[in-house]
């Protein structure tokens, strides 16, 4: 029991790390070893604490939601918001994933960021990120979760714009924060709805009293869930608020791996899982969640086909995979959503770190020969198999996993989601459409991953003769974490082995108590027996075909070097330009808003109407009045006398009446 109460330690450690590294960054930036020891050490310690908490909880799951109350944060009349952590099965799982993956990425960063002058600053931001992510995952009520929610947004702003000296990065950071903020607007409004309905903001209270307070399928519960989902789209980069994630690749690669693949972007899925009762009670919203998930999965996958920057491809792949998780959550299979979240964290982090190795190698090669080629453009790579073999094999494992090839992790989680969508189709036919989109997206995923692997590792090398000599494998500090992630990608599926091959769905049972309130409203009959085999077979076939097509198409044609590459034409151009969505947003939202505020509000209303007319107008009027009266003083005595007498007569008339 006491182990779970140590959970605050898991948060306190990274806070200490942040403060120490922050101080070092300001006053002793060159003390790199100290920074790396503190930064990574703190994370490893936090991971150990997480294991302790998980152990404490697993040997006595009955006392499930353990509320660890630190202090009373907002005591105002009936509103009693405490800064408290809630440790239950869902939180424990997320705690493990976050601390585990973060520790690996911290180790990787030690190698990747070694020469960067802002080394200490980088680690302090990364530690701060982990603090906020843990607060988000462990928060016991909406406001505390919101601290983590916005906190991670802040850290992604700081880390995306880490190399702030050039405008592009700073812009990307700002765009990420503001788009998250639009999502947060949704989250806030949902919180206010909940306060108005329940008069209490604690998760335990809400899930317990949801059935009694809110009418299932009613307007209020739908509104709450839709606004919550608006928050999720902002944070987890779903349509329409996804355009910030591809630009977020401007940040260092480990950041993309940690924040924009494994942890932050999954916050949305965690929130849906945490408030599963509400979503279960609002079938309309669940359909919306599933729908947007499926559409995003397909839409992002198509864009991924024609991207040349290796990180952009992975970014769109992340958006697409997140779409899958929301598809899972939308169909009511929250457990499989979380399962896919876990497996995705492993292989996507592996892919990003692998691409980090590749970019690192390319940088050193170009650096050595002082050429200014784009180190991230796949068209400059090719045939890196023999130069970075370890990275190649590990990334191959990850590619197989993401494509859903058994026995790798991705197969189990993605298959479960597709199966759930298909099952749900029984009582809501629209889910069949989502299932179709999901399958198509799976095909495209396999295709673009194969294309990525082919362009990067196969074919003849296009980096250039002199650079080729400098291409060599990354040091062990960087490839070590990759190996661990590789192992996890392989055995990841074991977490939740489906019954039809002897597994007993460990994760699903583990999350049972948390998801139980939701199940009462939307029980999901997973397909069994022959139907299941057919689905599984189809999924595997899709994966294999996708991969084979990807390799064949890419290696078939010769790939020109980035500098010499002709501009794309027709639909390919539309894809590589990301359907011009960014330009669309800019034209529809940003530019009119700035025009409105500058021309209409500031110049127009503020200066002319309010200032000009009302204020200065009053001044002008009084001056004119003064002038007018002055004319009366003509100096002619006669005029004065007349005025005097007219007054006298007037008074007389009044008196005589």
């Amino acid at each position: 029991m006491h182990l779970t109460h140590m959970v605050w330690l898991a948060v306190a450690l990274p806070v200490a790390g942040f403060l120490v590294n922050g101080a070092l960054a300001l006053w002793r930036p060159q003390a790199k070893t100290a920074v790396s020891v503190v930064g990574a050490g703190v994370l490893l310690a936090a991971f150990v604490v997480a294991l302790g908490v998980f152990a404490g909880l697993s040997n006595d799951p009955s006392q499930a939601p353990v509320i660890v109350r630190l202090w009373s944060w907002l005591p105002v009349g009936r509103l009693k918001v405490d800064f408290a952590f809630q440790v239950d099965q869902l939180a424990a799982v997320m705690l493990l994933i976050v601390t585990g993956v973060s520790s690996l990425i911290h180790l990787f960063s030690i190698g990747y960021m070694r020469e960067d002058p802002g080394y200490a600053r980088y680690f302090s931001y990364l530690n701060l990120f982990v603090v906020f992510m843990l607060v988000l995952v462990l928060g016991s009520n909406f406001p505390v979760l919101f601290i983590g929610w916005e906190g991670v947004g802040l850290c992604s702003y700081l880390l995306i714009g880490f190399w702030f000296s050039d405008k592009v990065n700073a812009d990307a950071g700002k765009k990420a924060f503001i788009m998250n903020r639009i999502g947060d607007f949704g989250f806030l409004v949902a919180t206010f709805f909940i306060w108005r309905a329940f008069g209490n903001l604690d998760f335990a209270y809400v899930s317990e009293h949801a059935a009694t307070t809110l009418a299932p399928g009613g307007a209020v519960v739908t509104a709450i869930t839709l606004f919550l989902f608006l928050g999720c789209t902002g944070k987890s980069a779903q349509i329409p608020l996804y355009t910030w994630l591809p630009d977020a690749m401007a940040g260092p690669t480990p950041v993309s791996a940690l924040i924009h693949a494994a942890t932050m972007v999954t916050a949305g899925v965690y929130l849906v899982a945490r408030t599963n009762v509400l979503f279960a009670m609002a079938p309309v919203s669940s359909a919306v969640v599933a729908g947007i998930g499926a559409v995003t999965a397909l839409f992002a996958a198509t864009i991924g086909l024609r991207q040349y920057d290796i990180k952009k491809v992975l970014a769109y792949s992340t958006v697409s995979q997140l779409g899958y998780m929301f598809l899972g959550a939308g169909t009511g299979a929250y457990a499989s959503g979380i399962f896919h979240l876990a497996t995705h964290a492993f292989f996507k982090a592996l892919l990003f770190l692998g691409s980090g190795n590749v970019i690192h190698a390319m940088h050193q090669a170009y650096h050595a020969t002082h050429s200014h080629e784009d180190a991230q453009d796949m068209r400059n790579m090719g045939g890196l198999r023999q130069y970075t073999p370890v990275t190649f094999w590990l990334m191959l494992i990850a590619t197989l996993a993401i494509a859903g090839i058994p026995p790798f992790a991705g197969f189990f989680s993605k298959d479960e989601i597709l199966a759930a969508a298909f099952a749900r189709g029984a009582d809501a036919p629209v889910y069949y459409v989502f299932y179709g989109m999901g399958v198509l997206a799976a095909l495209l995923t396999a295709f673009y991953m194969a294309r990525l692997m082919a362009m990067t590792f196969f074919g003849e090398n296009r980096t250039g003769e002199r650079e080729r000599a400098h291409l060599h494998e990354a040091p062990w500090i960087m490839t070590g974490p990759l190996v661990v992630l590789g192992v996890l990608s392989v055995i990841g599926g074991a977490i939740n082995l489906p019954p039809f091959i002897g597994g007993h769905a460990a994760l699903e049972h583990w999350l049972e108590p948390v998801l139980e309130p939701g199940l009462r409203f939307s029980h999901l009959a997973m397909p069994t027996g022959s139907a299941e085999y057919v689905l599984v077979g189809a999924a595997v076939a899709i994966g294999v075909i996708g991969l084979w097509l990807g390799f064949r198409v890419t290696l078939g044609r010769s790939i020109p070097v980035a500098r010499a590459a002709p501009p794309d034409r027709g639909f390919a151009r539309v894809l590589s330009r990301k359907y011009y969505v960014d330009e669309l947003y800019d034209a529809l939202v940003v530019r009119p808003l700035v025009w409105l505020s500058r021309v209409v509000l500031w110049r127009g209303v503020d200066q002319r109407v309010v200032d000009g007319a009302a204020v200065n107008g009053a001044a002008v009027v009084s001056r004119l009045a003064g002038g007018g009266l002055r004319l009366l003083q003509t100096g002619q005595v006669g005029v004065y006398v007349v005025l005097f007498l007219v007054g006298a007569v007037w008074i007389l008339r009044a008196v005589m009446r």
């Binding site: 002055r630 003083q633 003509t634 100096g635 002619q636 005595v637 006669g638 004065y640 007498l645």
Partner: protein, 102 residues
């Protein structure tokens, strides 16, 4: 109570004299004549005082005394001003004396 107090007629007379005084003040450009018309107006007021003094006691008549002294003072000062202006502009015509212009 004397048998005929002429209250009505004397008040009417006072009104007529006052109106004539006002007309004089408005019409004449010559400053001195203007002052005379003012004196006329004052006399009209005295008449009204006297007419009503028959009912309200000696107060009315004493008031006339005060009016007279004021009239005297006013005439003296007024004429002195006219003298000063005359020395300056060689004319008493009110039309072109506009030192008071604002």
């Amino acid at each position: 109570m004397p048998e005929n107090t002429f209250l009505g007629p004397s008040l009417a007379l006072s009104a007529i004299l006052f109106s004539l005084g006002v007309a004089g003040v408005l019409l004449r450009r010559n400053a001195i004549v203007l002052f005379m018309c003012v004196e006329l107006m004052l006399n009209a007021v005295n008449l009204a005082f006297i007419a009503l003094a028959q009912f309200h006691g000696a107060g009315g008549q004493i008031m006339v005394l005060f009016v007279m002294t004021v009239a005297a003072a006013e005439a003296a000062v007024g004429l002195a001003i006219i003298l000063a202006i005359f020395r300056h502009t060689q004319s008493v015509d009110l039309q072109n004396i506009n030192l008071l212009r604002g």
